[in-house]
């Protein structure tokens, strides 16, 4: 769809200004998109590695928990885990990646101050193993959360930016070009019409003077 405009010099200069802005915006958007993709790729690779690692370790921990449940009486397991441990302290912040807010998480609790929330009298060693294993992968899980959220936010933003780049490149700028060209043609045509009219008038005046 072509733009609506009047063939005047004023309109022409306005359109030229808008076109310059669009071209500059397009260049900036393109740079933003390229940088986003570059960062996204490193995030995605880290995300993949972390997920693989976490899933593997988490499954091991869960399996030893199942084993523990099998070895112990059901009530004993429930009782051991009934009272929740001291809640983990997580530092929650926001970091900016190209003005996209992504989460930043860090575990405040040290690995060494980990205490089992239950007594050892009624529980088996398998439960300890499972809990220990889970405590060890907590930092990994938090990192995974951070990276995975960043990855999905970046992916959204890349899609949005790419759409903007394409809209500018294939719709806005061609429209401006077309409008500018049209106005220039119309102005030239007017100019030519004017010139020929002047010539004609001059001719008629010269004939009258004779």
């Amino acid at each position: 769809m072509a733009l609506q405009y009047k063939p005047t010099r004023m309109e022409l200069s306005n359109l030229k200004k808008r076109r310059t802005v669009a071209v500059r915006g397009h260049k900036m958007m393109k740079d933003k998109r390229d940088e986003l993709v570059r960062r996204f790729i490193s995030y995605a690779r880290r995300n993949q590695a972390l997920r693989r690692q976490t899933e593997e370790k988490l499954q091991k921990a869960m399996q030893s928990f199942i084993l523990a449940r099998a070895m112990m009486a059901n009530e004993d397991v429930e009782e051991a885990l009934l009272y929740p441990a001291r809640a983990i302290a997580v530092d929650q912040g926001v970091q900016n990646v190209l003005s996209i807010p992504v989460p930043k998480l860090a575990l405040e609790t040290k690995q060494d101050d980990f205490v089992y929330p239950y007594g050892f009298a009624t529980t088996g060693a398998d439960l300890d193993t499972a809990v220990q294993a889970l405590a060890e992968i907590l930092p990994l899980m938090l990192e995974l959360a951070e990276v995975e959220k960043a990855t999905s936010r970046l992916a959204d933003e890349i899609e949005k930016t790419r759409r903007r780049v394409n809209a500018l490149e294939y719709v806005m700028i061609p429209q401006f070009d077309e409008a500018i060209h049209d106005i220039q043609m119309k102005l030239e045509e007017n100019e030519r019409g004017n010139t020929s009219r002047l010539m004609k008038t001059k001719e008629m005046l010269a004939k009258e003077a004779e």
């Binding site: 993949q48 988490l58 199942i66 441990a85 959220k149 936010r153 992916a155």
Partner: protein, 107 residues
Amino acid sequence: MANGKCAVIGDRDSVLLFRAVGIEVFAETDGERANQIMHRLARTGYAVIYVTESLYPHCAETIAEFSTEAYPAIIPIPDALGSKGIGMKSLKENVEKAVGVDILSNS
């Protein structure tokens, strides 16, 4: 930096263990109710919500709603029965959305 809270939603066998390390546990197997719990948690300022892969598809609505914000991060984890690859799949979808092709699988 503010103090964040973590929660995990899933079936009892898979998530009970998380209580021992100080993560809040919500045992739930019904997708609809898990969705409600997740929504409530997300509104009350939880930083990270882990959810087992079997419940993850039921919570798509809530996940989509909060995907445009920095918090909470809703993360699928495998359950006691093993990984179904949903987490990897969503990563792959993200990569395809951003780059156009899946560049991770062949590396």
